[in-house]
C-alpha cells in the first residue's frame, strides 16, 4: 500500500466545481481516496496552486512523422542535450526532442496525459513503440481516416453503418483512440499531387466530397459511441481566406451528444485567415469565434503560434509542400497507401514578419473571444505552432492584458490593423486555464470516467502542484511569476507517486495506452466481408494478418470498450 497526503493545497478542479479551496488530498495506490492513515508520506503544498495532471489533447510527440522530424534535423538535437542522470535517460532536441526529452519536459510542466494527434493505421506499431518510450505520461493515439479507401467506399454509399464498421474495426485493429481527419480528401488528392480547395469539391477518383467524409464520420463516431468525437483538421490549412471553409465546416455538425462536443476542430488559428493573398492576410478570428459561441456541439483548440524556430509536421501533405515552396528549406513527405499522407518541414516564425505576427495574434484572439473556456483548449499543435515548452508563456499572455500589450508592441505593426487583439481586454483566470489545460480536455476526449482531468474520489492520482499562490498573485501584473510557475511544478504526481520534483524526474511509473475496442455485432465485422478482405490483399502491401497490431504493443493498455447503438 502506498499512501500520500497532500496538505494545504490550493485546489482548482473545474470538473468537481472546486474553485480554489485550500484543502488536503489523500492518495492511496494511485487513486484519490477519502482519507489515508496518519503515518503516510505528507507533502505540504503550502497554499500553492494544485491541479489535476495536465492533458494535451492535440500534440505530436510519437510516431512516423515526429521521428522523421528528428531524423532529418541533427541541428535541432544540438539544443536541449542533457546527460543520463538519476532516473532520467539522456535527452536531445528542442523543436522535436527525443521521446524522453518530450516526456520529461511535459512532466516538469505537470502534464500526465498526451494525445498523439495523428497516427497512420498502417504505421501504428511505430507510434506504440514510441509510446512505450514516453514514460511519464499516459498516451492516446488519434487515428487517421482522411484518405481511408474503405471509409471512402462507405461514404460513397452513404452507409453510416458501414462507415462505423470500418472505423470500429480499424481503431480496434491498430489500438487507436479517436478518429482524426486531416484535410479530408485532400491527402488522397495529394496521392497524385493535387489538393482540394473547398469542402464541396469532389475528391479525384472518388465520387465524394470532404463534407461527405466529415458528416459521415461524425455520425459513425456517434453510432459507435466513441469516447471522443471526430477530431478534424479542416481543409485549406494556412491559406489566406480559409476562414470561409472553417465557417462552412462549423455548420456541418448538429448537437448529437449530451456528454461532449460532436466535433473537435484542431489548431483553429491556422484556419481563421481572411484576405486572399499573403499580402493582404488578416484575422477572421472574430467570425470563427462567434460561430463557435453559438455551437455548444463544437470544441476547438488554439494551435497558437509563438515566435522562434520550430518544426511543422502534419498528415496534410499538400499543405507542407506549399509551405516548402515558400520557405525552400528541407521538405519531407510520406504518403501512406490507402490511408493518408504526411509532411515535415522546419520553419522560423519571426516577429518581423507581418504574416507570422498576425498568426500569433489570431491564436490569442480565438482563446479570448471564445466565451466558454470548455470550448477552447490551449495548444500549439506542438510542435507546429511552437514547441509545447512555450505553453506557460501563452498562459501569461491570456492572463495579462499588460503582457499582451507589451508583446504587441514588439511584433509587426500591421498586426494592430489586421487583427482585433489590441482591442480585447479579457484576462483569463486560473480557473479558465485549468479548464483549457486539463478539465476541458478530459471532457472533450471523454476520459473523465477513466479518472482523468479531476481529483474526485476514485480518480487517478495525477496531480500538479505549481509554485504560485493564486490568492496572493495578480496574474495581470505578475505574469512573469505565473509563467515561471507553469514552467516547472513543485511536484508532479502520477498514479500517486511523485515523479517530478523541482524539474527533475525522480522516478518512472509504467505508463498506459488508452485505446478503444469498438465491439461490433457480427454483421458489421469487416473481416467477414469478402470485398474488404479481397481489396485489402490486392492493394495493401502487407498481409491483413500482419497489419493488425499485436497485444505486445499495448501491454499496459487500457481497453475502452464501446458498443454500438
Amino acid at each position: 500500500m502506498h499512501e500520500i497526503l497532500i496538505k494545504n493545497a490550493f485546489v482548482i478542479d473545474p470538473i468537481q466545481g472546486i474553485h480554489g479551496d485550500i484543502m488536503d488530498i489523500s492518495v492511496r495506490d494511485g487513486r484519490i481516496v477519502d482519507k489515508v492513515s496518519g503515518t503516510c508520506e505528507v507533502i505540504d503544498a503550502g497554499g500553492n496552486l494544485t491541479l489535476p495532471g495536465g492533458i494535451d489533447s492535440h500534440t505530436h510527440v510519437c510516431g512516423t512523422k515526429v521521428n522523421f522530424g528528428r531524423y532529418m534535423s541533427p541541428e535541432d538535437m544540438r539544443a536541449g542535450r542533457t546527460p543520463r542522470r538519476g532516473a532520467m535517460y539522456h535527452t536531445s532536441g528542442y523543436t522535436v526532442p527525443t521521446t524522453y526529452g518530450n516526456s520529461y519536459r511535459y512532466s516538469k510542466m505537470g502534464y500526465t496525459t498526451l494525445l498523439e494527434g495523428a497516427m497512420a493505421p498502417m504505421e501504428a506499431r511505430h507510434t506504440h513503440e514510441e509510446f512505450a518510450a514516453t514514460p511519464m505520461q499516459d498516451m492516446l493515439a488519434n487515428t487517421l481516416f482522411d484518405g481511408n479507401w474503405n471509409l471512402f467506399e462507405a461514404v460513397g454509399d452513404k452507409d453510416i453503418r458501414q462507415a462505423a464498421a470500418v472505423i470500429g474495426w480499424t481503431l480496434s485493429a491498430v489500438r487507436g483512440f479517436g478518429v482524426k481527419l486531416t484535410n479530408p480528401g485532400g491527402t488522397e488528392a495529394w496521392g497524385f499531387g493535387d489538393d482540394l480547395s473547398s469542402i464541396d469539391e469532389t475528391v479525384p477518383n472518388w465520387d465524394i466530397t470532404p463534407r461527405d467524409i466529415i458528416d459521415t464520420s461524425i455520425k459513425a463516431c456517434e453510432f459507435l459511441h466513441l469516447p471522443h468525437s471526430v477530431h478534424l483538421h479542416c481543409n485549406n490549412l494556412g491559406m489566406p481566406g480559409n476562414y470561409r471553409t472553417t465557417l462552412q465546416t462549423l455548420d456541418i455538425p448538429s448537437d448529437l451528444n449530451p456528454d461532449r462536443q460532436t466535433l473537435y476542430l484542431t489548431h483553429v488559428q491556422f484556419h481563421s485567415y481572411g484576405g486572399s493573398t499573403w499580402g493582404d492576410i488578416s484575422s477572421e478570428a472574430e467570425k470563427v469565434a462567434s460561430s463557435v459561441n453559438t455551437k455548444p456541439q463544437v470544441v476547438i483548440d488554439m494551435g497558437q503560434v509563438m515566435f522562434g524556430r520550430t518544426m511543422t509536421m502534419t498528415a496534410d501533405g499538400p499543405m507542407e509542400f506549399r509551405l516548402y515552396t515558400l520557405h525552400h528549406n528541407k521538405w519531407s513527405n510520406h504518403d501512406v497507401e490507402l490511408e493518408t499522407g504526411s509532411g515535415v518541414i522546419p520553419v522560423y516564425y519571426s516577429r518581423k514578419s507581418p504574416v507570422n505576427s498576425i498568426m500569433w495574434a489570431i491564436g490569442l484572439e480565438l482563446a479570448l473571444l471564445v466565451k466558454n473556456p470548455w470550448q477552447c483548449m490551449l495548444t500549439t499543435d506542438n510542435p507546429n505552432g511552437a514547441p509545447f515548452v512555450k505553453y506557460p508563456e501563452i498562459i501569461g499572455l491570456l492572463m495579462s492584458n499588460l503582457y499582451r500589450e507589451k508583446e504587441l508592441d514588439q511584433v509587426h505593426k500591421l498586426t494592430t490593423d489586421r487583427t482585433s487583439l489590441g482591442t480585447i481586454d479579457r484576462e483569463l483566470s486560473f480557473e479558465d486555464i485549468a479548464v483549457m489545460t486539463r478539465a476541458g480536455q478530459a471532457k472533450a476526449l471523454g476520459i473523465i470516467d477513466q479518472g482523468k482531468g479531476h481529483l474526485k474520489e476514485g480518480a487517478l492520482a495525477d496531480i500538479a502542484i505549481y509554485p504560485v499562490k493564486p490568492d496572493q498573485t495578480d496574474p495581470s501584473l505578475q505574469y512573469e511569476e505565473v509563467i515561471g510557475a507553469f514552467q516547472q511544478t513543485l511536484y508532479t504526481l502520477k498514479d500517486g507517486f511523485v515523479v517530478n520534483r523541482d524539474g527533475e524526474v525522480i522516478r518512472g511509473i509504467p505508463n498506459r495506452t488508452f485505446w478503444v475496442n469498438a465491439n461490433l455485432p457480427d454483421d458489421m465485422d469487416v473481416m467477414k466481408s469478402p470485398r474488404f478482405v479481397e481489396k485489402f490483399s490486392r492493394y495493401y502491401s502487407v498481409d491483413l494478418e500482419n497489419y493488425m497490431v499485436q497485444d505486445d504493443y499495448v501491454e499496459r493498455g487500457i481497453e475502452m470498450n464501446t458498443h454500438v447503438a
Binding site: E129, G191, S332, N333
Partner: protein
C-alpha cells in the same frame, strides 16, 4: 509431422516480404514458398550452420565456453572500456536495438549500425534537404513511372518489382505492367537494366553530374548543358526529363550504387532535389533500397532515443553525432576503439582491411548465430536465436512500415534481446555499485 505456417515475414532484406509460407516437417523447415532465392536460402540452408554455443579465442585456440562465462566477459570488457564501439544492429529487432542504444549511453560508447556503410549517405542527404517519400503500396497502386538508380534490384531485392513496382497489381491501372515505364540508371548493364524501357548508362562517378543536368533541364535551363554528360548524350537526358515530367506518379528508387560512389551523400542530395523540383509539375517520390532487414528499425529507434539515426557517440554522456567522425569505419580506421561489440553483422566481410585489423587487435565480442568472416577476428562469439525464425520482434521495412516478425520454431538459443538486457542490467549494477 507436417505443418504449414503462413504470413511469415522474411528477415533477409529491407523488403520484409510478409507473405512467406513455411513448411515444417518434424520441427525442421522443409519448404519455403513465395520467398526469393536470397530469403529461401536463409530459411533453408543456414540452419545447419549455426554455432552450438559461445566460443572464445584463448591464445591460438578456440574454446567452447558457457553463456554465463560469455556474459561475464562481455560485462567486464564493456564496462571498463574507454571508447567501446557497439556496431551492427540491423539484423536485430527494435527491442534489442533500444537496449543497445541505452547500453551505449550507460557505458559512454559509440553506437552505430550498418547504415553507415549502406545508406548513411542517404541520411546525410536527407538531413540537408529532406525526403519526399511514401510507402511502397502507394507506388504499387499509383506509379506509372519507376526509376531504379544505382540499384541492381533483380539481384539485390528480387521481389521488389513483383510486390511493389513493375509487376504488381495497381488500383489505378487496368494493365499495370503494360502501362508502366521503367528507367534504369547504372554504370553497367545489369540484369535489371535489361527490363528497362530506358537504360541510361553513366560513367563511373558521374551520377552527380547527370542529376545536376536533369535538374537544369527541368528548370528550363537545358541550354547550358553540353552534348554529353558523364557518358550520357544530352538528347537522352532531355528525353528522360520529359518522361519524368509527363508521369502522373513517379517513384525513384536508389541503391548503394549511388551512395558509395564519388560525392556519396551529395549524389543523393542531388537526386532528392531533382525529385522535389519535379513535384512542382507532378507527383514524384524517392526511396532508398535498404539492404538489411531491420536497418531502418535501427535508425528509427536510435532517433527516438538519441535524436540521431546512427553513429551516436556517448563518450561525454550526452549524444553527439557526426558521421565521418563517429561512424564505425572511421573509429576503427583511426584505431580509437579499445573494445567492440558487433551485433549480428559482419565487418570482417564488409569493412576496409584497416578496420578488420583493428578489430583483431582489441577485445571484440560478436553476437551472431553463424560463423562469419568476423568470427576469425573476434575474441568471443555468442550465438543467438535467429530473428524471424526462432525469435520475434519489430522490424521496419525500407519504407518505414513497422512489422512484427514471427517466431515459428522452438529453440534452445537465447534471443539477443534477452542477452543484451542481461548485459545491460549487469553493467548498470556494476556502475551503481561503483
Amino acid at each position: 509431422m507436417e505443418d504449414k505456417i503462413r504470413h511469415v515475414i522474411c528477415p533477409y532484406c529491407g523488403c520484409l516480404c510478409d507473405d512467406i509460407l513455411i513448411e515444417m516437417t518434424g520441427g525442421e523447415i522443409s519448404g519455403v514458398e513465395n520467398a526469393c532465392t536470397l530469403g529461401a536460402r536463409k530459411f533453408l540452408d543456414d540452419a545447419g550452420n549455426r554455432l552450438k554455443g559461445p566460443i572464445m579465442r584463448k591464445g591460438d585456440e578456440w574454446v567452447d565456453i558457457s553463456y554465463e562465462e560469455a556474459i561475464d566477459y562481455a560485462v567486464k570488457v564493456l564496462s571498463e572500456a574507454d571508447r567501446p564501439l557497439l556496431y551492427g544492429w540491423s539484423g536485430c529487432m527494435t527491442e534489442t536495438q533500444a537496449i543497445g542504444a541505452h547500453l551505449a549511453e550507460l557505458i559512454g560508447g559509440i553506437v552505430d549500425s550498418t547504415t553507415s556503410v549502406c545508406h548513411g549517405p542517404s541520411i546525410l542527404a536527407i538531413q540537408e534537404v529532406g525526403h519526399p517519400g511514401c510507402t511502397l503500396g502507394q507506388v504499387k497502386n499509383r506509379a506509372d513511372t519507376i526509376i531504379y538508380w544505382g540499384s541492381n534490384t533483380i539481384e539485390a531485392h528480387p521481389r521488389h518489382l513483383s510486390r511493389y513496382t513493375n509487376y504488381a497489381d495497381a488500383y489505378f491501372f487496368h494493365n499495370a505492367f503494360r502501362e508502366r515505364k521503367v528507367i534504369v540508371v547504372d554504370v553497367r548493364k545489369t540484369v535489371t537494366a535489361e527490363i528497362a524501357t530506358e537504360f541510361v548508362q553513366i560513367d563511373q562517378g558521374g551520377d552527380y553530374h547527370v542529376l545536376s543536368a536533369l535538374r537544369a533541364i527541368i528548370r528550363e535551363r537545358g541550354g547550358v548543358i553540353p552534348d554529353m554528360v558523364a557518358g550520357v548524350p544530352k538528347a537522352q537526358l532531355i528525353r528522360v526529363a520529359e518522361i519524368c515530367r509527363q508521369a502522373k506518379f513517379g517513384a525513384l528508387f536508389f541503391g548503394v550504387g549511388i551512395t558509395m560512389t564519388g560525392g556519396k551523400y551529395k549524389n543523393i542530395r542531388n537526386a532528392i532535389e531533382f525529385i522535389s523540383e519535379l513535384n512542382r509539375y507532378t507527383k514524384w517520390t524517392i526511396s532508398p533500397m535498404r539492404g538489411h532487414s531491420n536497418v531502418y528499425g535501427s535508425n528509427e529507434v536510435f532517433t527516438w532515443i538519441s535524436g540521431y539515426p546512427f553513429a551516436v557517440d556517448y563518450s561525454r554522456g550526452i549524444a553527439f553525432y557526426n558521421p565521418g567522425e563517429t561512424t564505425a569505419v572511421d573509429i576503427l580506421a583511426r584505431k580509437e576503439a579499445d573494445a567492440a561489440l558487433i551485433m549480428s553483422s559482419d565487418p570482417g566481410a564488409h569493412f576496409p582491411r584497416v578496420c578488420s585489423e583493428h578489430l583483431a587487435r582489441i577485445p571484440t565480442i560478436l553476437f551472431d548465430p553463424y560463423p562469419s568472416a568476423t568470427t576469425h577476428l573476434c575474441t568471443l562469439q555468442i550465438p543467438t536465436a535467429v530473428n524471424g525464425i526462432d525469435a520475434a520482434g519489430t522490424a521496419y521495412r525500407m519504407d518505414g512500415i513497422p512489422i512484427m516478425t514471427r517466431r515459428f520454431m522452438e529453440t534452445v538459443y537465447p534471443t539477443d534481446t534477452k542477452l543484451m538486457q542481461e548485459i545491460y542490467d549487469r553493467i548498470r549494477k556494476v556502475k551503481e555499485d561503483a
